[in-house]
């Protein structure tokens, strides 16, 4: 009954939150930018609606690819 959908979304959020926490500890002046890129993964979860998501890290990796693509423009 769509039992795995909320847990998938929560799993991605957990990964994002974990990375955001780690980013907070970082001694890096652009860490806000890092956090912004990590958060990009939130908006990418939607694109997994049709094909399904197998690993919660997938949207985060896709987020990095999207960021790189934006920079390559």
């Amino acid at each position: 009954m769509g039992r795995t959908t909320p847990s998938t979304r929560m799993a991605v959020e957990e990964e994002i939150n974990k990375l955001l926490k780690i980013a907070n500890y970082m001694d890096y002046e652009d860490k806000d930018k890092v956090k912004e890129i990590i958060k990009e993964a939130y908006s990418l979860i939607s694109y997994y609606q049709f094909e399904g998501l197998y690993d919660p890290l997938e949207p985060i990796i896709l987020g990095l690819i999207v960021y790189l693509a934006k920079r390559c423009k």
Partner: protein
Amino acid sequence: MEGLFLDARYDKGVLTLYFLSNKIEEINVKAHRIAYIEPTSIELYNVLNKLSFIYEIMEEEWFLPPYYDFKRPIIKIKYLGSSKFIKKIEENGLGVHVNNFPDEINLILREKSLHPGYLYDMNTLEMRDSDDPLYKLPEIRYAYVTSLNKYGKEASWYDIKYYKVSINNKDDFVIKNIEELYDIIKENEISIVMADVNSLNEIKSQGFILIQKPLVGIYGLIEWSRISGLTLRQASNSSIGKILTSAEALEAIKRHYEIKKVKRVEPWRKLGDMKDADRAGATFIPKPGVYFNVYQLDFSSLYPNIIVLNNLSAETVNKNNCIKYETNAIGHKVCFDKEGLVPSVLKRLIDRREKIRPYKKDLIFKERFDAIKWILVTGFGYLGYRNSLFGSVSAYESVTYIAREIMKKSYEISNKNGYKVINYIIDSLFLIPENPKIDIEELSETISKEVNIKLRVEDKFLWLVFPYTERCLGSAGRYYGLRDDGTLKIKGINAVRKNVPDIIKYAETNALNVLKKASNKEEFYNLLIKAKESYDNVKKELINGDVKEDLLVISKSINKIGNTQQVRASRILYGLGDSISYIINSDGNPIPVEFYEGNYSKEYYLKYLERSEIEMPWYIINKNCNTS
């Protein structure tokens, strides 16, 4: 003389029928009690034959659940007196009581060919009606009774100040004492009184039918009766799920499908396969922002249509004895040998609704139309509810899978034709014509043809906002915008949420009413400052203490507060579904409105307003949402 059959009671061999003609007429007829027993031991026949109060024993052939592919003899008995012997039969392992849903009275009525909600000749008890959804009704004089508190809002059990009596949705009376109601009923020749939970217990039925105020209005309730076979009283006390299940039970009885709770076990699957199959409908996370010239397209009854078109029913999915079947991509086998029970009920409802659609400007038809809509909405949920009589998780998974495929196709076709999809939610798409190759009507027609389900252009928005949520994301179900007819559509934000104090709604609505004057991008941005000012003015009023106390009231249903023993106990004492209204006092504590003395917490409401401001468009434009 003709009468509308509405209600019935059974007591000690007498069936009392309630008809509406000029007034409520009572007719008594003799009737036996009826029970169906599935034998589990040959000994059952001997036992039943010895019971003197049983008048008739018949053997009938019924199809057995879960797949209804085999027939078995079931015993039908007619009797008088207590039904305790049935329990004893079950306890002794002689048989199982079946076909007892929704209730015994429905079996008795069926035996007498009496269907609630239909017109009958009251002398002969012959039906004088057809199954046409545009059926005519005699004039019904009815009243809604609502208990209100001092702020004119629906009262809790303890803060009733007066009652509003609304006659035929036209004339309103305000009474302080419930006793005054009886004169109003007499003077206005009222036949049916519908009261909220708090007033219901205080009213005594005297020559009129008294029922709980339904969700759908009296004409919707009669439609529910006709569809489900439930009496008006039963329908008014039922959840929508029960109405649907009763309609399904009617169809089951027609087909001689035995009604018995059975476990429909899911097939064994690998974890990966389950991950693929066990997903909900497609829902987007829209990017928060302001969008201009947006179309909203809605599929008409998407899930019910999927169920009907694909014959998805509890007994058709993963059925073993099947000749003609298709296996879908998530591995479920769907049988097409015979029309499924759930699809046949839903198909009838969809057709019925479409016939009513052109007439829905009329209140009677609008209520019928909405009543069917509610059942259709429930249809999908109950198909997947393992404990429902006609539910199966496998059928449910097939529906969501097909819905996702439909949304995927719609997404691709829209993109291909130059429309950008900015949001989709289950059965709704939001599109911006970026480089349109065809007009929107043509696009909706193309998608409709491709997926075989009608896609309608629901709205055109001059501007549409997807606001931030608390987590600084967008949400598919939260948006507001200005339609091209000049009206606002507001979904999911605090301005329209039930448990939010009116001051928040007031601030948000004020701001949106300012923006209502903006018909294009330039005007929208020009009016933003003014809109923000109107929002800030509410904050000032709050700080200055100029706020009327009724704007501060928070009403919450006790059922939603929690399920502690205390709450459960108070529910028994004060009634189900009750709500509590309170104001946050200056010391930060919630005070029931009756005990509030005029000092509200400025800090609490101000913080609430500030929190709520993230839903406003200036917040999105400044991009200052931050969670961490």
